[in-house]
Amino acid sequence: MAKIVTLREQRVMPHGSALDRFHHYDGTTYHGRSQLKPAPFENGIVGTYIFLAGLSGAAAVLSVLAATTGQSSLRRVERRSRYLALAAPILGAPLLIYDLRTPKRFYNMLRVAKGTSPMSIGTWVLMNYSGFSVLSAAAQAASDVWGANQRLQSVARFAAVPEALAGAVLATYTASLMSATSTPVWAAAPEALAVRYGASSMASAAAALTLGEIDPGVRGKLQAITAGALAVEAVAGTIAHRTYYRKGVEAAFQSPSGIAEKLGAKGLGVLLPLGLLAASALLGRRRGALSTAAAIATIAGSAMLRVSMLGVGDQSAARPDISFRFSTPSNLAEAEQDQRGSP
């Protein structure tokens, strides 16, 4: 009789009780074979797109912010970020199409719009963003060529507002795209990953605008923005790694991609530029090689963050010990608590 009671429990009790007997993962695997399939993305290609989407999306935001100050010294920043914002549509979109296994059917992405699929959300955001950024940059270019024209300037500024709104999504939806999968490392810390990507985008855009900026005052402002964004990225990165430890997926970082994330994204991309920017502020020489080096390191680190996180995710999906540890009920309870009330 006792055995039948066990079954009744399984049928009538909420999740917890039926799962209790499998609460701890005991290290079992099926002949050591993967339980999940890693994403079939080409990490260099998709990582570069994610980086460019972040860079140009954040540049679009900075362009509008520079315009709203009304300061004439920021005109150059406004204009240059408008061109920088073209990186996603001109370079990024072709990379995405190239990564499809049946590229000639890329237009099928436009058949549906789905809130459950960040890939679909991203498609529509990129479409809208591309339209507004090309319009805004074209008006800017025309005004540059034919001399400052008030009407062209207002077209550029008008289009820049929806462009910046779409740009903010473009800079961060890629984290949501990775989190909304069953790949353990991507799924483990959705919020921290998104903050990390958003901050990295802002840092890389501000750093890119620092390069070639001659006005020392403006350069100083852009450096301050870079430093602030890098600090946020550092905090989000630390929180993300704590979550990876707690949810048992940290082992995936013991891989070439994990080392690239540690040395490239965190070391080269965050700590080094923060140190260089601090040194440059202390020495008071904002135009010097220090700030240029900081900007280059920030941009390179931002790209490496995206490429390495794709690789670490693949590693976590390929290793059954990690994916099984991740899909234990303890992680579930937390996930269900976190997400109560969301669709």
Binding site: L7, A180, Y197
Partner: protein
């Protein structure tokens, strides 16, 4: 054994056409649009013959893959893939250090075998991830990829919590079990279930299968198989994290991981909103800070 009374109408050795509603004769169920169909795979009666794998390849015209030996017991298929939509897992529980035992306790106790398949989740993550609408829910409550729509973006592959969906290397499209959509349309039971000689794979209406499976577990418990439990029915391992129930569910006698199944998979789309919102809040916060920095007067 139950034999449908309609069977007598088709006693001749050659038939001129497909038997209407043939599934009534072979699976005891009439296939009607609007109802929910699936598989109940009872691993306690699986003998590892792989007839399901062969029947699936035959019916669906799937090419061979992995022509070789894996060294993983009798499992030379390895995993579900673009070309293998049924996969029999073999686990040897007796013997020691790679040496097979020469004596076995009764009831096939030295072997665990499971015919794995797409779970046709109630809230299917692959379908929710698909940006083209190539993946859809059929009138039989099953999940199918439309090959003429799929553009091979590959997002359904990491979305699947069971590692089922795969991109074909020869055509660049996503492939997986269709629960024999074409056969269901014609009133035929899916090929794997029809070919299963021990009825380890049972096809039918999901609610009916679940009821039957629960009885089977009670029966096994009474026989002394106290570790039998269901995987993928409501409130059980496999049907967790918002996935709802699995239309293809299993009766297991060991931990899910033994058969390469996760204990507590989750529905990925639940992470879309928290992630998007946190990212946007970070950018908004940094934009406010940037606005303050930029508007500073020197």
């Amino acid at each position: 054994m139950y034999v449908s009374p309609r069977a007598q109408e088709f006693a001749q050795s050659t038939l001129e056409r497909v038997i209407p509603d043939e599934s009534e004769l072979t699976a005891g169920v009439r296939i009607e649009p609007g109802k929910s169909y699936g598989f109940f795979t009872d691993t306690t009666v699986c003998i590892g013959c792989k007839a399901c794998e062969v029947a699936c390849k035959e019916w669906n015209n799937l090419p061979a893959d992995n022509l070789g030996l894996t060294g993983h017991s009798y499992d030379n298929t390895g995993a579900l893939s673009a070309n293998s939509w049924r996969h029999v897992a073999f686990v040897e529980t007796s013997g020691n250090g790679g040496v097979r035992a020469t004596r076995e306790a009764p009831f096939q106790s030295g072997w665990l075998m499971l015919s794995d398949v797409c779970k046709h989740c109630h809230n299917a993550p692959c379908l929710e991830a698909c940006p083209t609408g190539a993946l859809f829910k059929t009138e039989f409550d099953t999940v199918v990829v439309q090959q003429d729509i799929c553009n091979g973006c590959g997002y359904c592959v990491p979305a699947c919590p069971f590692g089922v969906v795969d991109i074909g290397s020869n055509d660049g499209k996503a492939h997986k079990c269709t629960l024999c959509y074409d056969r269901l349309k014609g009133g035929l039971e899916p090929a794997c279930a029809k070919s299963c000689p021990t009825d380890s794979i049972q096809f039918g209406e999901v609610a009916e299968l679940q009821r039957h499976a629960a009885e089977r577990v009670i029966h096994l418990h009474d026989l002394g198989v106290s570790n039998a439990y269901l995987y993928g029915v409501p409130n059980s391992p496999g049907a967790t994290g918002g996935l709802g129930h699995l239309n293809a569910f299993f009766l297991l006698t060991a931990r899910p991981e033994v058969y390469n199944l996760p204990v507590a998979p989750t529905r990925p789309s639940r992470r879309v909103a928290p992630s998007l919102l946190s990212g946007l809040m970070a950018v908004a916060g940094l934009a406010v800070a940037a606005a303050a920095i930029l508007s500073r007067r020197e």
